[in-house]
Amino acid sequence: MRIVIAEDDALLRAGLTHLLRAEGMEVTSAVDNPTDLLAAIAADRPDVAVVDVRMPPTFRDEGLRAAVEARRRQPGLAVLVLSAHVEDSYATELLADGAGGVGYLLKERVGKVADFLEALERVAGGGTAMDPEVVAQLLVRRRSDDPLLSLTPREREVLALMAEGHSNATIAGLLVVSDGAVHKHIGNIFSKLGLPTTDGRHRRVLAVLAYLKA
């Protein structure tokens, strides 16, 4: 997997590069600002770009804006955005183009290396990886007549994991239930929320996220 890293903190940039290379990934460029990121993406044609939200010159959301811009220039480019704090509106911006291949995680998730690599692969494969904190934010801001309230606790758990981007098999593993049980929960969730059932895992997740951020 070919990866471009954009992170302005030198220690984190070097650490992330080291980590990914040790796992057999190919880090083609590691840059520290949005301009170099766009140039590196154009030159390296990576499978995925790992981007810090806050970067020079103003240290606001330059990285996020560069990621959105990179996907505009190169449709289908997978982007995994990392940040020290998460904001559901940022996730909304990343998902705005309706295409997959988007991840938005807290930086410290990198520490659980296996999970991080799994998320990275999901994003590179056109899937999504939303931080549990983002999903939690999306799930709380609801009105009183919300169909979400009609979900059972277990269905809410499944919905949250699905929104994070996990596959049925992973969800089943995490909740220690059978694949069939997960499939059944998902069917119930979709009918309770009035969502059309779609085939294709990624499209299904996007539909859920679109519903949650509406």
Partner: protein, 404 residues
């Protein structure tokens, strides 16, 4: 009548002096008034106005101090003139006030002074005439009475006495009366409630802005510093975990990196706490806290604090931070052998000045320390000035409004 006390001029002499010097000021006022008129009337000379206006200010300041001392109650100065903006000077209400005072001083001030001086002058002149009339042909008293005999001389003495009596009775009253009417025009004009409100609104907006800048600074320090360090700890521990399965030998450098990152996180956290409000300020106040800083400095340093009033906690914290950071910079980069720290307050500004005799060449674009100082001071609407020629000495001066 008050009794003169030792070391204080006799009251009447004091009053006489006040009026006599006032006559001098009055004469100078004529020139300043003429200067103002010449600066304004021909229009093309308008660029000279700020200079003549400042001359008027200086003259008024001289009289303000004298009159304040004479009356025993200091007179507050008006707002200083803003730079060289001719329009602002022309339309300033303080300018009209200056002109009104100059006119008073040029006319009544001069007249009162001359009247006052004429009394002792009359005494001296008539006494001299009484004593020396035989040698002075066709001499008259100051009241035009010819002095041709010792009888006339006695009359001259009586005239001298009359001058002295009238003077003694008149001068104190005249001096007090004039000092009072002059003080009214020398005092700053009363600020209207609307103007005061505008001033308060502006100050409040500036304070809120400063607070916002301060919050952003703290957020930035935590977000880009401490949080990133802790992410590095977690990331390297993750790598250690993977390495332990694969190749335990390779884990050691990552453990050390994680440990260093955790140590950095702690020291940055301590730094943030200190930058929010240094604990020592609570214990010892600004002078004591800075004194402690100076005594711990690796380079010999002297410290002087002049007339420091209590400042708002945030301002004291900023001043402390400037000194701490400037000392750290000097120790790290200057190669100095002696550092001087001076704290003083005037004109509503708390000024911090740190001077070292090192090699100079300090540049705010190079050191994050200097940048930190600038940011910190700017948050309180203050200014930072760095003068550091190659070869030194380096002077860092930060001025922060006391905000009171």
């Amino acid at each position: 009548m008050t009794h003169p006390t030792a070391g204080q001029p006799r009251p009447r002499l004091r009053e006489l002096k006040f009026l006599a010097v006032g006559a001098g000021t009055g004469l100078v006022s004529w020139f300043v008034l003429a200067g103002l008129i010449l600066s304004v009337a021909p229009v093309v000379t308008l660029p000279l106005l700020p200079r003549t206006a400042r001359a008027a200010r200086r003259l008024a300041a001289f009289e303000r101090r004298r009159t304040g001392e004479f009356l025993g109650t200091p007179i507050a100065p008006p707002q200083p003139l803003d730079g060289d903006d001719i329009g602002a000077v022309l339309t300033s209400p303080d300018m009209r006030r200056d002109v009104s005072w100059l006119t008073l001083q040029a006319t009544l001030g001069t007249l009162a002074g001359l009247v006052a001086v004429s009394a002792p002058a009359g005494v001296v002149q008539n006494v001299v005439i009484a004593a020396l009339w035989p040698y002075l042909p066709e001499v008259t008293t100051t009241l035009n009475h010819p002095v041709e005999s010792w009888g006339d001389a006695t009359l001259a003495l009586a005239t001298a006495a009359a001058y002295g009596t009238v003077g003694a009775l008149l001068i104190p009253t005249l001096a007090r009366w004039y000092a009072r009417i002059s003080a009214v025009r020398l005092a700053p004009r009363r600020i209207s409630l609307a103007e005061r409100l505008a001033e308060v609104t502006a100050t409040r907006a500036a304070a809120l802005e400063a607070h916002g800048t301060e919050l952003r600074r703290i957020e930035r320090n935590l977000h880009d510093g401490t949080q990133n360090r802790l992410v590095a700890v977690v990331m390297h521990l993750g790598m250690v975990e993977r390495a332990l399965h694969r190749d335990p030998e390779s884990a050691l450098p990552m453990v050390l990196t994680a440990q260093n990152a955790a140590t950095d996180a702690l020291s940055e956290l301590r730094e943030v706490v200190r930058s929010i409000y240094p604990p020592v300020l609570i214990d010892r106040g600004l002078p004591g806290a800075v004194s402690a800083l100076v005594s711990h400095c690796a380079i010999p340093a002297t410290y002087e604090a002049r007339d420091l009033p209590r400042a708002p906690a945030a301002v004291e914290a900023a001043a402390y931070f400037v000194v701490a950071e400037a000392l750290t910079n000097a120790v790290k980069h200057s190669g100095a052998r002696q550092i001087t720290v001076v704290l003083h307050a005037d004109d509503g500004l708390l000024t911090v000045e740190v001077t070292d005799d090192g090699q100079g060449g300090a540049d705010e674009t190079l050191g994050t320390g200097l940048l930190g100082i600038e940011r910190r001071v700017a948050a309180f609407d203050g200014t930072t000035l760095l003068h550091s020629p190659l070869g030194g000495p380096t002077v860092l001066r930060a001025a922060i409004p006391l905000g009171v």
